[in-house]
Symmetry: C2
């Protein structure tokens, strides 16, 4: 006899992407479909030393139950990590450690969303965010973006119309868009938060992965001291996953005390606390001072791959695609133009591409509303420059095959 599952599961559907991923097992395929960093980039030796030190210096702290809010030495290091990026007035008590930033999203959903509540997200946005919030009954509204990030006039109109529980943004090198929200728009969004008394959730896993000489505009969190009152209406999700190791599952959530307290209570009943072994390892790693060199290395490698992908994409696909060269992060976001009778539907294109031995993710599932079926996402993070050029060549063949 079948079980009767909770009604909240009716709000989510099996991912279309999952179906595509089943095809990736095909031998010889070059995949740009993933959303993960290159494991060759992990500082294994640094993490080995950090984990040893954690066990040697405080075995009890690393192996016993810990505070739900997080391991204090890690909270201290994370506050310093944010301060180094220009965040003012932030202490260890202003953040809690989460089991990856995915859990920060889950706790925001659990803490804030009653069934039927409106939540505004970017169109497109992170797929697991869409599903996570929908599980709590959120009614998602999609705000359009361009190469400079979310369109603020449209966002303001949507806030005024829908009075959302919160607005979820990935302002810096968004997934899947790769877009970078301009400084001017960042300021305006903080002003909107204050004007409409609406919570803005800033998800920032990619902000450290910039390819330019100078860093991108400051995070909303770092900018918040320039817009009086905005800090109160801001929640910020950080992550070690893209810069150090996803396997540690160490993220963090910065928010006003009232919200942190409720999120902590919910976390207590979600997983008691994040692995203290992983937390103590991350704390030792940050304390070791190796992070800046690790980041420098990662930025250089990904920058070279992004450059190679942009050039090869242009060369091989020409006017069949339109895209903006990303200045950081892990992703290219492109649109099939249909020029000269070329393929316009990214789902159809993905099938042709698999036939040619190359994979990517069609863009439609990343939209909570009004999917753009001509869009698709390519990750440049895990293939080296040679594989990227080979893969873009195959993509060119797929375009020609689908003409």
């Amino acid at each position: 006899m079948p079980l009767q599952f909770a009604s909240r599961l009716d709000n989510v559907e099996t991912s279309a992407i999952r179906e595509l991923f089943k095809l990736l097992g095909k031998p010889g395929i070059i995949s740009f479909a993933g959303g993960f960093p290159d494991s060759a980039m992990f500082d294994v030796e640094g993490l080995r030393e950090a984990s040893q030190k954690a066990l040697a210096e405080e075995p009890g702290g690393a192996l016993q139950y810990g505070a739900t809010e997080g391991y204090d030495p890690l909270r201290t290091q994370l506050a310093a990590f944010e301060q180094a990026k220009g965040v003012k007035d932030l202490g260890p008590q202003d953040l809690i450690v989460t089991t990856g930033s995915q859990q920060a999203l889950d706790l925001l959903g659990k803490t804030l969303v009653s069934p039927g509540d409106k939540v505004i997200v970017e169109g497109p946005t992170f797929l697991a965010t869409i599903q996570c919030f929908r599980l709590y009954g959120a009614d998602l509204v999609s705000a359009p973006i361009d190469a400079d990030g979310v369109q603020v006039d449209r966002l303001e109109a949507l806030i005024a119309e829908h009075k959302p529980k919160f607005v979820y943004l990935i302002p810096t090198f968004g997934n899947p868009s790769g877009a970078l929200l301009s400084l001017e728009r960042r300021r305006r969004i903080l002003e909107l938060a204050v004007k409409y008394q609406v919570l803005i959730v800033e998800d920032d896993p990619y902000g450290d992965l910039y390819f330019t000489a100078a860093p991108p505009p400051p995070s909303l969190l770092a900018l918040s001291d320039q817009v009086p009152g905005s800090r109160e209406w801001l929640a910020h999700c950080g992550s070690m996953s893209k810069v150090l190791s996803p396997g540690l599952r160490v993220g963090w959530l910065v928010a006003r005390p009232e919200l942190l307290a409720k999120a902590t209570m919910c976390k207590q009943f979600s997983d008691a606390h994040t692995s203290t072994f992983a937390q103590a390892t991350a704390a030792q790693y940050l304390r070791s001072g190796r992070m800046p060199a690790t980041l420098d290395h990662v930025r250089k490698v990904y920058a070279a791959r992004a450059l190679a992908m942009g050039q090869a994409l242009q060369r091989e696909l020409g006017d069949a695609v339109a895209f903006t060269q990303p200045q950081g992060g892990l992703f290219f976001w492109a649109r099939l133009t249909g020029a000269g009778g070329a393929v316009r539907d990214a789902g159809e294109f993905a099938k042709k591409a698999i036939e040619q031995g190359v994979a990517f993710v069609p863009g439609a599932p990343f939209f909570a509303q009004q999917p753009d079926h001509s869009s698709f996402r390519l990750s440049f993070a895990t293939a080296d420059v040679g594989r990227i050029e080979e893969g873009m060549g195959r993509l060119g063949q797929a375009v020609r095959a689908a003409r």
Copy 2:
């Protein structure tokens, strides 16, 4: 301006225990209030070696994103761990790894409970279970227990009356009760599962911590092959927390494929996956073959402490308390009898005890319904025999002071 939180938060309240815990900072206090294992019992050297091996042998697997279902080598080890305890027909694909068994509870709530659904729990039961299920809107019904565990006749009547979404039990050395469900009642519960087509959730974090020469009766999971059809109506939560290290946050959930698939989907949006670093470390530890010796050691130490506590409790408090000597686990569950005009209210007694420099947890919050205000819980896990005797002496003084 205050935030408006989700309506589900109205179902939980700040724990009364939390208020008491604030008093524990008083210098010189002997605490029996905790619910955690003794960190002096952790096999730090074995875990150090296991973590090193995990990083050396498969750094990518230990540090990269992993499958939501869990790290395959760990799933294999956990299936073998269960098989060694008499569970038949269980393969790696029949379980998923969770971030502690607390997350298994959270996923069961998220996957199965619609607001207003009935769930039957033991009275008393694990506090974080009560809150976890209530956050998903569960309407909890309490089934009475005695020294042999839940009273099966009463349980059957409650199942028939309430048609619950599931029944949650800690059959072996329950928290807080310490009770051990008899073999006969175990069989009857599996029969009830089949008869009423009702899911039984077996939470089993303490089953390995027995003090007798022979192990306790098999888990419901291990017994299920003796009751045709019962396996389908069983979910089993396991944990490394009490026997190896809580800081790893490694638990597991065994359930029928349909339920595991939904729980996996929910987990994807809760924390993506459990720390692969912690999972790879646990897998290497189990593979190293050190677990049986670790368990032997832990059992001996806790058995001596439990014995000392029982004797001292009897000697110091006499007929002012009634209790059953636990045969395993971490807890004594006792009741104030009020004999000779002694204190009957455990909350009042807890305050007197703190004044005398000793702490425990009053029992009332462990009841989802009809709290027994005369009950209280003592953990014997973290104090050595000398401290236990000293602490019971102080408890005797507290009884006399409250007379």
